[in-house]
């Protein structure tokens, strides 16, 4: 199943999945993101890097439709996110986007298996196929034996791997990862990144990673650098 999907995505590789046009975000008098333009093609991997406060997370939030830009547009798979209302953006997130957070953001009252199933359940698909897929993904990230464990019973690395499984269950077209190794030690971080890239390759998902980690950035096909909210020209 995973290989078939990968082939389909490769066919679409030339297509643009994310297009950012003159994107600006200000909070009061503070401009956090300044007139940014870039495009990301289908199936590619991209790292957004920059010092703290450079606007990386804000940019990621805007690209994922979590926030509204002050100016400019974000086109995700051809859809202008600004033209959608909150429910419309939620639908796009549900159908096309996956997330991996620095602080894992598993729902503390749900088991690992239930956490992974949530995105599909939100789409009204919580049946046996989803259950099987969730089990398969957890198994894939090495958590096959910890399906019924709650987040508090998992280590940081295990939580992040469960979060990876959750991010891929709805076969997103694009996956946003915000400092996915920020809360992990080097060894565990490496394991999580290996899992991330392996799943990405398997699903052919477009990957956008916000990171401080230069080693991680180097593994991405493309690096976008931010400084004081503006894009640093690619060298």
């Amino acid at each position: 199943m995973v290989n078939q999907l990968s082939d389909l995505r490769k066919e679409a590789a030339a297509k643009t999945i994310l297009e950012v046009r003159h994107l600006t975000k200000t909070y009061g008098s503070l401009t956090v993101v300044k007139d940014i333009d870039f495009t990301i093609s289908f199936g590619s991997t991209c790292a957004i890097v920059g010092p703290s406060g450079s606007g990386k997370t804000t940019l990621l939030g805007l690209c994922a439709g979590l926030d509204q830009p002050t100016e400019g547009h974000v086109l995700l798979d051809g859809t202008d996110l600004a033209s959608l209302d909150e429910n419309g953006r939620a639908r796009v997130r549900s159908e096309s986007i996956g997330f991996v957070f620095q602080s894992f953001q598993l729902i503390p009252t749900l088991t690992a298996l239930e956490n992974v199933m949530v995105p599909m359940e939100l789409r009204g698909d919580g049946g046996p196929a989803t259950l099987a897929k969730a089990r398969e993904l957890l198994d894939h990230v090495g958590l096959g034996g910890r399906l019924s464990h709650y987040p508090s019973q998992l280590s940081g690395g295990e939580q992040q791997r469960a979060a990876l499984a959750r991010a891929f269950i709805n076969q997103p077209k694009i996956l946003f990862a915000d400092e996915p190794t920020g809360n992990l030690d080097t060894e565990t971080g490496r394991l999580v990144i290996d899992n991330l890239f392996a799943l990405n390759a398997a699903f052919g998902t477009t990957l956008v990673i916000v990171t401080h980690d230069s080693e991680l950035a180097e593994r991405a096909g493309r690096v976008i650098r931010l400084k004081a909210g503006a894009l640093v020209p690619e060298s």
């Binding site: 939620a90 639908r91 997130r93 953001q105 598993l106 729902i107 009252t109 939100l122 009204g124």
Partner: protein
């Protein structure tokens, strides 16, 4: 909105709701307890109301004991007897009057209501006596039935004798219950039933005695009594006879019982509202803890409505749990209510669960709980998915217009509830306004406290005090909720104590030192010198002596009473037109009265038009003012009068007071009874006076005001027992809300307490910080509650009871001791784990 409803019908919403509260179910159930007592109170009271209605309906005929009763203050005339003969049916007669009952065995005497009875009354229901066969004995004319309490008071037994007037009659049984009369009535005026045949032998009931003559009718089944009464109404008016039918008694009783029911219901609602506030506070904390989860769901693609529906489902479940538990508890405890109210219910009360009332209470509880829960739940709607990316993200503090819509719905629901109880929009508005005021005052106090503390905290204060006080205004503080729950509880309890104190104090004032406390009445003119001598011989002062002349109104401002009674457009109520006035004549006013308009004329110079003084309220009822003419029928002689002055009378002063006051020079020759007023120092002296009087002058009755005050005190105590019973629900709810608030507060405080311990704070320091916070909250809540209660009691004293109010110190001191101790005690008990266990263990426990 429709999206939210749509999502509420999706199984995933409820599955997620169930999964999401896995670690909080116990806590959520605890929160739901807040409304349990309020719902239980409403369910119990609702069942009581339904049972009461049914009892009144089922026992309607026993409420009167007859189909119709007709009564008069005068012996029935030949024409009236002719009317009764025309009415037919089975008839029974009763003459009721007050007289001294003397128990020779114990040499005890007390004023009692004597009822001489002939015929088969009660035709419906029966006297309850001990032994039960005593009723038959009484009907055979073998002796008297005497109120059981009276027998107990004087240690008299069945078989001994009681003396009424000149008659010594055997006691055939102890009277426990008379159909249609409440037990409280027996406290005021214990009853003694005599066979009518024995009446002449008593020597009582002669001219001038204040007696009520009644004829009871039992008609053949199918008789339309209402129609019958309507047909004789003009004649009843003409003869100034008053009538009562089962239907009328039912309506009067229904109204009285409805008032009691509504009062209890409002008490239940206050408990429920306090519970609702508790729920709102608890949900507020719960929602704050759930915001990150809501943000994750939003990030994963859940629309706003779906996320909101998950937490709304929790609110619904919580409300349902509280409402169902409360309704079931109400069904269980409702049997206690008739026992608490037994003294006020004049019929047998078969208690059955009214499932309708239980379900209705549950529905009201659920609705109120949900509305209160919605206030904090609205925050879920404003959770941005960005919160999942940024831990420090805070929701915008912009006011949510929906919040005001919910508050408006809550107020409208309160108003509707009040309207349902009072059927009067002004009262309902007053009720809603008063509640809103108390809540606003408590809320305002909490707000001011937080502002004040923030300004007053100085770096120089000890660390423990500074930290503890800071807890009152820092984020996640429990100040609002605790001031509410503790404040309302303190307010209710201290109010009750204040009002009790105020009314008891007023009773003391009315019988204060030096004032008259014994009144001898029904003294015949010829007996007056001897009675005065007897009083003087007992070393008692004759404080006052006045004649009483019976009279009725013949006409007012030229219109005769019959036409006024027949005039349906007339605004004059019928009772002051029909009644017999017992007036006096004097050349001076007494201490309890003063002229407020016109001039008091002490002696009449023109016998053709007598200048009288009239009490202001009865003047208002009769529609007369200064200069208006009233013609009285003084036992057959017309006396024309003119209103020369209006008086204000302090009826609370237990002295002989009068509606109509005549000057000297007019009524001296009219047949009169005299009243003599004295003061007894001890109950032994009072008993001595009563014994001496009943032996020498059996027709003279003695009212011992001290005993009346004690009786009133007993009745007031019974009333306050009912009020305390209802307040108990609110106070217990307050304690539950307190516990729930402290539990939620504990979960918020635990992290910083653990952090402090991690940073090296000793358990004693953490204990001290928590103690300072809880004690401060307790003190401020006590202060607020006491101040509100003082304000309320003052307003009641000033505008309702018209008495002087000096607040007692003891309850104020008690409030300032108990409330902070309770808050501190419960708070520290809830935090004991923080103090006892190692910080790491606590952190792990809290994060799981």
């Amino acid at each position: 909105m429709s999206d939210v409803v749509k999502h509420l019908f999706r199984p995933w919403t409820w599955r997620m709701c169930w999964r999401d509260c896995r670690s909080n179910r116990g806590r959520l159930l605890l929160f739901s307890l807040s409304i349990v007592l309020g719902v239980a109170a409403l369910a119990a009271i609702g069942s009581f109301g339904v049972n009461m209605e049914r009892a009144v309906e089922e026992q309607a005929k026993t409420l009167l004991g007859a189909d119709l009763s007709i009564s008069s203050r005068q012996p029935f005339s030949t024409n009236e007897e002719h009317l009764f003969a025309q009415l037919g049916g089975e008839q029974a007669r009763q003459i009721a009057f007050n007289s001294m009952a003397y128990f020779p065995s114990g040499d005890g005497t007390r004023l009692a209501q004597v009822r001489a009875l002939s015929g088969g009354f009660p035709f419906y229901g029966k006297f309850e006596t001990e032994p039960p066969s005593a009723v038959e004995e009484f009907k055979r004319g073998a002796g008297a039935l005497v109120e059981e309490n009276l027998l107990i008071q004087f240690d008299a037994k069945v078989g001994e004798t009681v003396r009424i007037g000149k008659l010594a009659v055997p006691i055939v049984g102890a009277l426990r219950k008379v159909p249609g009369e409440s037990a409280a009535l027996a406290l005021i005026s214990p009853r003694v039933y005599l066979p009518m045949a024995d009446m002449p032998a008593t020597g009582l009931g002669g001219k001038g005695t204040l007696a009520r003559y009644t004829v009871f009718f039992k008609f053949p089944p199918g008789t339309n009594v209402e129609k019958l009464v309507k047909s004789i109404d003009p004649r009843l008016d003409k003869f100034r006879l008053s009538s009562e039918t089962v239907e009328k008694r039912k309506q009067d009783l229904g109204r009285a019982m409805e008032n009691l029911y509504h009062f209890l219901n409002l008490g239940g609602l206050i408990a429920l509202l306090l519970g609702g506030i508790g729920v709102a506070g608890a949900i507020h904390t719960h929602v704050k803890q759930k915001l990150p989860t809501a943000a994750i769901l939003r990030c994963l693609g859940a629309p706003v409505a779906q996320t909101f529906a998950v937490y709304l489902a929790q609110g619904i479940a919580l409300g349902l749990a509280g409402a169902i538990s409360g309704a079931l508890l109400g069904a269980l405890i409702q049997s206690a209510l008739p026992r608490a109210l037994a003294s006020f219910i004049p019929f047998d009360f078969q208690f059955r669960i009214s499932w309708f009332a239980v379900v209705r209470a549950g529905a009201i509880g659920f609705g109120i709980c949900l509305l209160f829960a919605l206030l904090p739940l609205l925050a879920i709607r404003r959770v941005s998915p960005l919160a999942a990316l940024r831990v420090a993200w805070e929701p915008k503090s912009a006011r949510d217009p929906l919040r005001w819509v919910i508050i408006a719905i809550l107020l409208a629901a309160l108003f509707a509830f009040g309207l349902g109880q009072e059927r009067n929009w002004r009262m309902a508005l007053g009720f809603t306004g008063a509640l809103a005021f108390v809540f606003a005052a408590l809320s305002g106090t909490a707000f001011l406290l937080m502002r004040l503390v923030r300004k007053l905290i100085r770096p120089g204060l000890p660390f423990v005090v500074r930290q503890g006080l800071s807890g009152l205004h820092r984020p996640n503080n429990r100040t609002h909720l605790l001031i509410f729950s503790l404040g309302v509880g303190t307010f209710l309890l201290t109010s009750i104590v204040f009002i009790e104190h105020m009314l008891a104090g007023d009773l003391m004032i009315t019988t204060g030192t030096g004032q008259a406390n014994a009144i001898l009445f029904d003294i015949q003119r010829s007996q007056l010198p001897a009675v005065s001598n007897l009083v003087a011989g007992l070393q008692l002062p004759v404080l006052d002596q006045l004649p009483l002349v019976n009279m009725r109104i013949s006409s007012i401002k030229g219109r005769d009473v019959e036409s006024l009674l027949a005039d349906k457009q007339s605004h004059i109520p019928s009772w002051p037109l029909r009644r017999e006035y017992r007036s006096t004549y004097s050349d001076h006013l007494r201490g309890a009265e003063h002229v407020i308009a016109g001039q008091w004329i002490p002696r009449a110079t023109n016998a053709a038009v007598v200048p009288i003084s009239i009490e202001k309220d009865i003047a208002k009822d009769l529609g007369v003012g200064l200069g208006d003419e009233i013609v009285f029928d003084v036992q057959g002689i017309p006396v024309t009068t003119k209103v020369a002055s209006l008086r204000e009378v302090d009826w609370r002063r237990m002295e002989p007071n009068f509606f109509m006051l005549f000057p000297l020079g007019v009524l001296e020759d009219a047949p009169a009874m005299d009243v003599l007023v004295t003061r007894v120092a001890t109950s032994a002296q009072s008993a001595q006076l009563q014994r001496a009087m009943v032996k020498a002058f059996p027709n003279v009755s003695v009212i011992d005001l001290t005993m009346i005050v004690q009786t009133l005190d007993a009745i007031v105590n019974k009333v306050f027992f009912v009020i305390r019973f209802m307040a108990l629900f609110t106070v217990l709810t307050g304690i539950l809300v307190l516990i729930s608030a402290l539990v939620t507060g504990h979960f918020q405080r635990v992290r910083e307490s653990v952090l402090l311990r991690t940073l090296g704070a000793a358990s004693g320091q953490v204990f001290g910080i928590l103690l300072v916070e809880y004690l401060s909250l307790g003190v401020v809540a006590a202060l607020t509650g006491v101040v509100l209660a003082l304000g309320g009691a003052w307003a009641l004293a000033q505008f309702v009871f018209h008495v002087h109010f000096a607040p007692p110190l003891a309850p104020v001191v008690l409030a300032f001791v108990i409330v902070p101790l309770l808050t501190g005690g419960v708070g520290l008990f809830m935090s004991r784990r923080v103090l006892k266990y190692p910080p790491l263990e606590m952190l792990r426990a809290e994060s799981s």
